[in-house]
Symmetry: C2
Subunit: 368 residues, 2 copies
C-alpha cells in the first residue's frame, strides 16, 4: 500500500474506530486497527467482536493494499503529527508500515490484514432513520439507568422498540426505569424489539453530533447497524427477555406536583451532601405550596431545603436515593418537571413538561 | 457567632485555605477549617502543620465568635449554594453551626476553635517583594525537577537564594537540575538560603494569579511567610544541605545549537512514543544544520525526526530520557532555546533565549 492522506482526517477516523478496540483482549489482532484501501478511500476498522466500527477516509491511493497496525501507537503517533499530508507505505513481505509527515518518519510493525475478523455485512432488516441530535438525546436520557449487573445480561442494555412509526428506548436497573418515546421517519415498517448493549449505546452517543443529519439504523435478528457521518457501527444484540416495562410504570397517582427542574436539582444536590454515605437517602415532604427535602448524616449534620411547587391531590412524603433522583433531573430538557406519587411506598414518577414523551420511575426507600 | 457573608467570597476563601488541609490526618481537628471573626472580617484558616493558609473575607459581623468546621463538608455545601447572602450562626454550647442561604439550611457539627493549632506569627526576618506573575513563573520553571525521594529530604524542596538584589530558585532530583534567576525589588537586604517544601511551592503557584501585584515574602530561621491578595501562607522550611548547584552547571561546551523550542518539543514528544517503555531513551544526533532524534522500541517500531538548527562547534551525539527533555521545553517561554554539549557522556545544558536567566542541566544516558 502507498497512500497520501490528510493528518486531521486520518486522526479523526482512527480515533473513531479505536473506540471499538478493547485495551484488554486475549486476541492480539483485536488491539489493532485494520487499514484497507477501497477504491479512492482508506477504510479503517476496529472491533472487539461485540461492536465493530468502520469508517472511510478520503485518501490519494497510489498503490492499494491492507495491514493491521497497533491502535494505541497508531493513534498517538498520528495525533502528534502536524496537520499536513501523511505518506503511508506498507511492506506486505514483513508486515511493516512507514508513516512519513514533514520531517518525521515512523516504522511500525503490524500484522497481516487477513488475520483481522470480518465485520458482518448487514443489508436487509428493519430499516429506519431519525435525526442524529434526536437519537443522541434519546440515548442520553435513558443510558444512565442501564444495569451494570452482569448476572442479569438482559438488563445490561437498552430495550429498543419500533412500532407504529415510533421509537422507544427503555432501561432499568430495577431501582429506577427510564423510558423515552419519539417518532421515526418511517411509518410503515415491521415492529421490532431488541436489547442494545450499554457499551454500544454509550459509544454511539459520544460519536453522534448535535446536527439534524439522519442516522440510519438497520435491525436484524442478532445484529444492529448504525450508519451516520461516514461511520458504520455494527453491534451484537443481547439475548433474553426484557421485563415488561408497562407493568412498572404506575398508571395512577394521588399527588401531582409541578416543580422547577433546576431548583429541585440544586436542592437535591445540596441535601445529598448530608445524606448517609451508603444509602444516599433524602426525604421529600410535599405540602400545599412547597416541597421540603431533608437529610441527616448523624456524625456530620442535617440539611433542610424548600422548593416552591404547585400541588394537586394529597400532601404526602417519600424518600429516594438522591443519586437516582438527580440522574434524571440532569437529562430532562424542560424547565419544569411533573412529579407523580401514589404513596410513600409506591414508585414515584417524574415526567418532562416538554412535548417529548419522557417517563422516569424511581423506587422509594424506607427512611429510618 | 452570627455573620452575613457573600457566598462567592466565602467559597473562594475556604477553597483557598482548604489546600492546606490534609485529607489523611491522624489529628481530626486538622481536617477542619477554623472560622473566626476579627473586627469586620471573617478569618478562615487551614493547616496540616507543615503549611498553613489564612485568608480574610469581608463579612457583616452581627456577633463575634469562632468554630472549626469539617473542611470537606463546608466547602461542598458552600460551593452548591446560590450566589447570595449566607447567614452563618454558631452555637458555642454544643459546637454546631447553622448555614442559611435562600431556602436552604444546614446544621453541621464542629469543634471548639481553641483546639485548633495557632499558626506561627511571623513579623521579622528577611523581607522582600516580587511581582506575582514573575514569582509564579520562577516556581513553574523549577518545581517539576524537585525530587520525590523522601530518603533525601533536602532534595524534596526548592532552594531559594536571596543575594545582591537577586532571587534564585534551584531544584534537582540528581537526573536534572533547573535553575532560574531574577531580580527582586529590594537591593539591600541580607543574603538568605532556604529550602522550601515541594507542596508549598505547588500550592503557591496554583494560588498566584498572572497579575503584576506584589507578593511579600518573609524568611525566618525555620519558617517562610508569603502574603498576597489577602492570603497568608506560612510554611516550615526543610533542614539540610542542598548540593552545590554551581558545580553541577557545566561552564564549558564543545557544541552550541540554537533550535526552535516548539519544533524540538513536538519531535521529542513523537519520538518518545516509540522509546523503550522503562528508560524512555531518545538519541539525538547533532549535525551541521540539523538535529536528528531517533528512538527504537524493539517490539513496536522506530521513529526518526529531523529539526533544523544552527550549530557552532563540533558535531556530536547524546541520549536523554525524553521526559526530562520535554519537561523543560514545556516551561521555557522563549521561541528558541540554546542547547550546549561538551560530549556524549557529559551533562547537557538547555538555556532560554529570552532575557530571563534560566538554566536546565540534564544528565545523558548511555544508549544501547
Amino acid at each position: 500500500m502507498r497512500i497520501e492522506i490528510n493528518q486531521k482526517e486520518f486522526y479523526e477516523g482512527i480515533q473513531t474506530v479505536s473506540k471499538a478496540v478493547s485495551s484488554k483482549t486475549t486476541l492480539p489482532i483485536l488491539s489493532g486497527i485494520l487499514l484497507k484501501t477501497e477504491e479512492d478511500k482508506l477504510k479503517v476498522v476496529g472491533t472487539d467482536l461485540e461492536i465493530g466500527i468502520e469508517c472511510f477516509i478520503e485518501a490519494h491511493i497510489i498503490k492499494g493494499g491492507s495491514i493491521v497496525l497497533p491502535a494505541k501507537y497508531l493513534t498517538s503517533i498520528v495525533r502528534e503529527l502536524p496537520n499536513e499530508k501523511i505518506i503511508l507505505t506498507t511492506e506486505a513481505s514483513n508486515n511493516t508500515a512507514q508513516i512519513k509527515c514533514d520531517q518525521a518518519q515512523f516504522n511500525i510493525h503490524g500484522s497481516p490484514a487477513d488475520e483481522f475478523p470480518i465485520l458482518p455485512e448487514i443489508e436487509s432488516g428493519v430499516r429506519f432513520t431519525i435525526k442524529q441530535n434526536k437519537f443522541k438525546e434519546i440515548i442520553d436520557q435513558t443510558k444512565f439507568a442501564i444495569s451494570k449487573d452482569e448476572s442479569k445480561p438482559f438488563l445490561t442494555g437498552g430495550l429498543l422498540i419500533i412500532e407504529e412509526g415510533n421509537i422507544k428506548l427503555v432501561s432499568t436497573d430495577t431501582y429506577r426505569l427510564a423510558y423515552r418515546e419519539d417518532q421515526i421517519n418511517e411509518k410503515d415498517i415491521s415492529a421490532e424489539k431488541v436489547i442494545i448493549p450499554n457499551k454500544t449505546l454509550n459509544e454511539i452517543a459520544k460519536l453522534l453530533d448535535n446536527s439534524e443529519d439522519l442516522i440510519e439504523i438497520i435491525i436484524t435478528e442478532n445484529q444492529i447497524l448504525f450508519k451516520f457521518s461516514g461511520v458504520s457501527i455494527v453491534s451484537r444484540l443481547i439475548e433474553g427477555q426484557f421485563p415488561n416495562y408497562k407493568q412498572v410504570i404506575p398508571n395512577k397517582n394521588n399527588t401531582k406536583v409541578i416543580v422547577d427542574k433546576n431548583e429541585l436539582l440544586s436542592a437535591a444536590k445540596r441535601a445529598s451532601l448530608l445524606a448517609k454515605k451508603d444509602s444516599n437517602i433524602i426525604k421529600i415532604n410535599l405540602e400545599k405550596d412547597k416541597l421540603i427535602i431533608t437529610s441527616n448524616a448523624p456524625e456530620i449534620g442535617q440539611a433542610y431545603e424548600e422548593v416552591s411547587i404547585s400541588l394537586v391531590g394529597q400532601e404526602t412524603e417519600i424518600a429516594f436515593n438522591a443519586i437516582y433522583l438527580m440522574d434524571c433531573l440532569k437529562v430532562i430538557d424542560s424547565e419544569e418537571v411533573v412529579l407523580e406519587l401514589l404513596g410513600s411506598l409506591s414508585p414515584g414518577v417524574i415526567k418532562s413538561k416538554s412535548e417529548d414523551e419522557y417517563i422516569y420511575v424511581i423506587m422509594p426507600v424506607r427512611s429510618a
